[in-house]
Symmetry: C2
Subunit: 100 residues, 2 copies
DNA sequence: CCGCTTGGTTAGTGAGAACTTACCGTTCGT
DNA sequence: ACGAACGGTAAGTTCTCACTAACCAAGCGG
């Protein structure tokens, strides 16, 4: 899921979809400097990660951003804010001394 | 930055820091199933990404989570919500037909 | 009905990155 | 001051993965 966002090309695809709206595979291949099969493979990964959704439109497949996957990333990120973060930090810094 | 989060081991390190608070390198090496040098290398990457911060404590280096990098990720993520996302989507779905 | 277009899949290759082993500098404890 | 431990670095190996090229299936247009 975060692995899917780790690749620059995949991020470029998402950025393109964000800026230009839903697009076909060929449409993405024009804007992203990789071959069309590469786009397909990345879209597959992004699809499994829940970051994009696709809808058949005749011979074309229109891809759009799926908010579900992004929500999961956001939740994961929020854990780091909700937890007693710096509190814990400053605490252990002065306490210190046990195991770690 | 998101590349730093793409690696499972690095995420494991961050999770460990989140749960157990700041820790030394050796302390992390005990909890994460990789060798100590590997931890050092990952911490270097995480440091460059602004995701962790370290403070010398004698011979030990205490690492803690840095909120700055996480904020950048959050900002990047928010772009996908603020933009006219599904509006754009449904629009083009019915309009369609031009170039992409 | 036939050709053209669109898109997904497979095989193969190359590059990059993660991991371990070995080494060295640094700092605390005795 | 010497030994021990903690941590960062270098070199080398291995493995994963991103990419291209070639092939195949499906749907629209003349």
């Amino acid at each position: 899921m975060l692995d899917a966002l780790g690749d620059p090309t995949r991020r470029a695809i998402l950025e393109t979809l964000r800026r230009s709206g839903p697009s076909s595979v060929a449409g993405l291949a024009e804007r992203v400097p990789v071959s069309r099969p590469a786009i397909s493979q990345h879209l597959k990964v992004l699809g499994l990660a829940g970051l994009v959704d696709h809808e058949p439109r005749g011979t074309r497949n229109i891809y759009r951003i799926e908010r579900g996957g992004l929500a999961e990333v956001r939740d994961w990120l929020d854990q780091f804010w909700d937890d007693a973060l710096d509190a814990f930090a400053e605490h252990v810094r002065s306490t210190e001394g046990s195991s770690e």
